[in-house]
Symmetry: C2
Subunit: 348 residues, 2 copies
Amino acid sequence: APALPAPTPITVAYGDGIGPEIMEATLRILEAAGARLEIERIDIGEKVYLQGNTSGIQPTAWDSLRRTKVFLKAPITTPQGGGYKSLNVTTRKVLGLYANVRPCTSYHPFVQTKHPKMDVVIIRENEEDLYAGIEHQQTGEVVQCLKLISRPGCEKIVRYAFEYARVYGRKKVTCFTKDNIMKMSDGLFHKVFDEVGAEYPEIEKEHWIVDIGAAKLADTPEQFDVIVMPNLYGDILSDVAAQITGSVGIAGSANIGDGVAMFEAIHGSAPRLANLNVANPSGLLLGAVQMLVHIGQRDVAERVHNAWLRTLEDGVHTYDIFKEGNSSEHVGTREFADAVIRRLGSLP
Amino acid sequence: APALPAPTPITVAYGDGIGPEIMEATLRILEAAGARLEIERIDIGEKVYLQGNTSGIQPTAWDSLRRTKVFLKAPITTPQGGGYKSLNVTTRKVLGLYANVRPCTSYHPFVQTKHPKMDVVIIRENEEDLYAGIEHQQTGEVVQCLKLISRPGCEKIVRYAFEYARVYGRKKVTCFTKDNIMKMSDGLFHKVFDEVGAEYPEIEKEHWIVDIGAAKLADTPEQFDVIVMPNLYGDILSDVAAQITGSVGIAGSANIGDGVAMFEAIHGSAPRLANLNVANPSGLLLGAVQMLVHIGQRDVAERVHNAWLRTLEDGVHTYDIFKEGNSSEHVGTREFADAVIRRLGSLP
Ligand SMILES: CC(C)[C@H](C(=O)O)[C@@H](O)C(=O)O
Ligand SMILES: CC(C)[C@H](C(=O)O)[C@@H](O)C(=O)O
């Protein structure tokens, strides 16, 4: 018999709040689907912060991440105040994860939404902008924060967006900036969009000032395909786009760097819902599906995605999606995972 | 017979693109409604820019604005490149218009919307943040832009929001910031919100990180009442909120300073629609209604607002609101103004 392909090493963190529950559910589904993974577990988040480590991650955890180069990460909680740094942001910067890919797709009529035809991928610059974290108390009364935009940063993210569109057969890439006000910084992003875009003649190009672009996205998202934008706009508008598909709980996210990638849900750790077996594991699961494609296990990715879709189609829903009155079934996190597993079909 | 009250001097600018048409329509309605106004007209925008004045406004125009202290302004076009400065931003800064008040209300079923119960007022800080316009080319490859937040700036806008809620009987004020990342700058805004809010015990207080707040606003805007936020978030999210009421064309905006105020539509000059008699004058008209209240002509404000509402209720619509298939009538800018005027009723 032919040897089975070697499993792919990945680093996994269970996170805080609802993190452990949705990670447990996700990993059970991946295993049942036949994903070939060798899991290294690291601890991050609250526990590490409260041990006095303001970065929320142990130095040794970086070794695992640099070795496996693939990170499946549950949401974490960053304690308020006390100089704690956002681990999400640190990870993106330390590992050079310059592209944050956030597909926001409607699953109408299985997930109720006012925007049934939406299928947008937001590609968010992930290292620069106001996230540089440079803040300064100028006087007792005045604070400054620095927004940084670099040409290499713009080139990397814009090229990623066009390559993504090409590979996935997407027809249009839209750019959002506020360069009527920030002529140099957002202006640079817009200029690079025009320059790089010219190399992709087969793809339609479009630009909107971010305010009116955001308005269009919230009103008629079906007019967009791929949208590329600076970090902070991408943060805000990917939450908007994910939410209006029906639930922020079903969007996964890939953070891509040169040779390293991190996969997560786009929602947070929702501490108030922790340990209640109510959280929706779909966001992290769809992040994991992106991961499977990334590591070349597209067959498993498709099997998981199909089983997940059939679960929704069969009306099996966690509380955030469930609506009284239709014939659907209201289940907990574990039962949702079981339902997906039952729909995986026999393994090949 | 008792003497009529003296008319209030106001400064008016017809602007660019669709500006002259919607201003003409608005002023005709105000006159027919019996507004007591003494109009000083100034030129701003494209014509002035192209005369080589990078500010888009003649020095003498400031004299009029400083004298009348009330400015009804149509949208203008700022030419691309060439060091032209946004006149909107200049006006807000020179006149110290620190509060931008943007009511976003649904007029369901007369204006079709997915959010029939929405009645949100966005109160946007109007002078600080990235709008300080300080940009700097650090190297050939790196650009910086400065975000400025000051304690007096935060105090003024937050207090304005709570006073607004008190005067207009609004129950809740929500604050949006991104202080999990910008701990000092957005953190200051949030802190001042908590401090000033404590002086208004009768008003409910709430805070959301701007990404999830924006998602909630786009999804279920009816959960919000008054929302106060820094300048750039307010720019983006007031366009979102206005658009999802059914059209960005029906939202007016007040820019309030100490003793000076500017009233405008929140949409832009839409050059492609200019001179076609198709633009919706409602945004500027509702800005003018806010102006009438501001200058103490509440009776006229109500008359105009009621007539405008009746016009919508009767199904008389400009193209942006009009939907095929219902029994409504599709009219141009001038005819819409005529329809409002016919519904003013007899003057008292
Ligand atoms: C938690 C926070 C630092 C993070 C961000 O702002 O990027 C989150 O909102 C996200 O979008 O992943
Ligand atoms: C035209 C532009 C400078 C302005 C802004 O960004 O404030 C506009 O979008 C607005 O919201 O009034």
